[in-house]
């Protein structure tokens, strides 16, 4: 069982795809915990919900592709701009004018788009292990092609559409072990694998084949810096220096571009909110109370 169940749940529907959201607590401000890649779902935030629900109003939603949300197979449905639109639709549906955005991995990227393009909906943004066009890709991830059948199946060679179809669980185990590089992370890894199994390799392949704003910026890198500099709300960047999914250099670059403080988790991996929930909860709490002082 969960330590805290939602006070309200519901769906929004956009272009025939349903997105499931949950609301916890009724304080202010609203904290919107954004989804990451559809390899997992809103349960990524299980270490945050009970705590923040006691102080604020918490909204989570499952990403299209996993959890209680729909699983279209058209890559176009998985563009980052679709997730951003889902976030705004969930906010509209729940009468949430503005919220503090919290995202890790792809969710950090969604938070950046929301902050840059919809400033009147965003009180502040906290991004951890965030993907970004800034910074470098981890060297070990640049070696193998995703789209070609490979001879080898070791390490990042598993990040391959043929391998996914052949041994999906094997990929999940590999990926989540990279997400949690900290020793003694077995529970976090098992949780992740079980959430990954709630969707299918075909869905993940569709997400991989999507094209959105992220792909656009990768082809127009000169626009990436101005994009981040257009963010004016308070931002906090958290990044583990042992992140084996998204390079720590990306966290440094986002902090530099936005002028935001960077919290480095020395020895930390990719999902700091999952592996170091107490420390990250306290950091997030401090951030929220700073930008929205409680009377």
């Amino acid at each position: 069982m969960r330590p805290r169940y939602p006070d309200q749940e519901g769906y929004i529907e956009r272009g025939g795809v349903r997105t499931a959201y949950e609301i916890y607590g009724n304080g202010t401000p609203t904290v919107l915990f954004l989804p990451a890649w559809a390899i997992g779902h809103s349960r990524f935030w299980k270490g945050q919900i009970p705590y923040f629900a006691r102080h604020y109003r918490v909204i989570t939603f499952d990403p299209r592709g996993n959890g209680k949300s729909g699983r279209p197979l058209d890559p176009a449905a998985y563009a980052d701009t679709e997730y951003v639109a889902d976030a705004l639709a969930v906010m509209d549906e729940t009468q949430t004018n503005r919220a503090v955005m919290v995202g890790f991995s792809m969710g950090g990227w969604l938070a950046a788009i929301l902050a840059a393009h919809y400033p009147d909906r965003v009180l502040g943004a906290v991004v951890t292990g965030s993907i970004s066009p800034l910074g470098q890709m981890l060297p070990e991830r640049t070696v193998n092609r995703f789209d070609e059948p490979l001879e080898i199946e070791e390490g990042w060679a598993k990040h391959n559409r043929y391998y996914w179809r052949k041994d999906y669980r094997g990929f999940l185990e590999f990926f989540y072990s990279k997400m949690f590089t900290e020793p003694h992370s077995t529970k976090q890894i098992e949780d992740g694998v079980s959430w990954g199994l709630e969707t299918t390799p075909e869905v993940l392949i569709a997400t991989h084949d999507s094209r959105g704003f992220s792909e656009y910026l990768k082809e127009h890198l000169e626009e990436a810096l101005p994009f981040y500099r257009s963010i004016h709300c308070p931002v906090l960047v958290i990044h583990g220096d042992q992140d084996a999914i998204v390079s720590y250099t990306r966290g440094i670059a986002i902090a530099e571009a936005t002028g935001a403080p960077l919290v480095t988790i020395v020895g930390g991996g990719h999902h700091n909110f999952g592996r170091d929930p107490v420390k990250t909860n306290l950091l997030l709490r401090e951030f929220i109370d700073r930008i929205c002082p409680q009377s």
């Binding site: 919290v263 480095t264 020395v266 020895g267």
Partner: protein, 727 residues
Amino acid sequence: MRARYPDHEGYVERDGVKVFYEVFGEGEPALLLMPTWPIIHSRMWKGQVPYFARYSRVITFDPRGNGRSDRPKNPLAYADDEYVADALGVMKAAGTERAFVVGLCPGVRWSVQLAAKYPESVLGLVAIAPGVPGLTPPHAHRQQFSFNDVLDTDEGWAKHNRHYMLRDYQGYAEWHSNWMMIEPHSTKPYDDLIEWALQTNAQTLLLTVEAPGLSTKDEAERVCRQIRCPVLIIHGDRDLCQPHSRAERLAELTGGKLVTLKGAGHGPMARHPVAVNLLMKDFINSVLPPEPRHVTWHHALTRPKRAIFVSSSIGLGHIQRDLAIARELRALVPGLEIDWWAQHPVTEVLKAAGETIHPQNHLQALESAHWEEEASQHELHAFYAFRRMDEIFVANFMLFHDITRETPYDIWIGDESWEVDYFLHENPELKTAPYVFLTDVIGFLPVDPEGDPREVTLCADYNAEMIEQRARYPRLRDLSLYIGEYDELPDVPFGPGLPNIRDWARDWFTPVGYVLPFDPLEYQDPAKLRARLGYGTGYPLLFAAVGGTGVGRNLLERVVDGFALLRETMPDARMVMVTGPRIEPNDLPEVPGLEKRAYVHNLFEHLACADAAIVQSGLSTTMELVATRRPFAYVPLRKHWEQQNYVTYRLRHYGARNRLEYADLTPRRVAETLQGLVGSRVGYREVPRDSARRAALQIAGLLSGTRPGTQSSAVTRQPVDATVRTR
């Protein structure tokens, strides 16, 4: 001396009345600490100024009627409006447009008017024990007696009476200070209040009573309702001056936050400085959050093991034993990183030893400067001097608190870390790491029990407070290590009605033996040592030393005269006199055979080849002479509780009995003593050689989770494959 001196001071003059102000530190947001009823003055904020001045500008001013401000003779000069105008004038003179304003009692009455009428000048208001009359009725005990009528009694609150104040102002001040500091063990803040009260007089205070100001309920409520800035109200539930209901009402009217201090009286900023400082800081941060910075947080398992070692700076002796303990500790806990928290001149020893000194170390208020200022003649009254360090202790504890919040040390080790120990017991919730306390002295014993009954009372009160603190929070110290054995302690009570020191120590301390910074077995051959150090042989080699402060000058002067006399009967005698860093050797007379040196590296090696020595009763020097089995005489500082009692007890235990009294120390006495010592045999008890290791074993147990003496069972198995199989 003060823990922090102003960077700027001056006067503001209005209508011929001069008001004195001080400015400390720089930066926004500024903090204006308001005066209160002129029975006291701006030094009431001595526990706050050094802490807040580290962050931003702090402004204080003396109230008209006390301190260095004028004492006008007209009651109208003491009107509320005048104090408010003084506050604005002082802010302007200090170049400050906006400030957080903090007041106590009538200081709050003036502050609420300031905030209501000049909202652009006030960022936030901290109201301590708000003395805003009219908000709610006064305490019943304050309505019992008329202030203006002649009374037939002057017991209790009947003292708050015009005629009594004029008749016996000292009595009034004592009574007033007594109920302000209603908490037990408040003797020092009480003494401060009396001192400040006696800087003004009853006539002046009576003028303030007649002065016009905020008084009716309607007026008070109207003013408080006008306040728009954030408000924090702090009120002790045992405040006999202002009823708690006024704090509650002020909170209602201003939408402010009320913090009730249980058990606190009317002067919490003085009696509970740490708690009040932290409440104020939180409040300021909540209104104006500090700029966030980049920070690094180590995932717990990746952290190096880190200790902070607080080494008391009173004398240089402690650091040698602390370094010895640190060496042993590093051998027992591989990889242990130690940051040192110490003061000049101890830091010089640490630098020479290649140790790491905490980067914020230099921000401490200097203890050794305080001791020098306290020392006069051969009469440093160590207990009174210690007691007057109260404000240095608050300042340095606040700094220690800040730095241990920034770095999660695995252990705090304090060698006579008095400020850390005292304020942790006062604020036990601030302990966030295992904590070890080491000391070579337990309690205070009066040096003049016949002539100074106040000293007897105060020592007993300090001892009683320590005994109560330990009993209430036994686990606050994870270890209490006594540098010695129980029978080196005085076998006397802590004071009237208090336990025996030795018996109490058995319950509350683990003895580790006296810690030497060297192995005495290596210093058994004086002739060889003299050759190595270049002294040669064939003549009596004498030493005189007084430790690191300037206190010993008079002793050295007498020793110089005594040595000159000795040369008449022992013409080949030579003496090396070590003056320490604070006595200029050239200021002492020249005498044939006398060599004066400011500093001698590894002094113990030199003492170890002395034919005789005469030294001040510093613990380290005397025990080094015992360990190297040299004949010596010691002269305790006359009013030094530790040298008079504890060192003497310990030296007697070891069989070193040549104690000389400074008062009897004529040149002839010096000469005769040295003559008798040269060539005499000593029968000292042996000083243990393994004490540093005993101490380190105890401490290492806290770091490695094993009992002292056993090896830690580190995890040796290989980490599991990072990939977790879920099938």
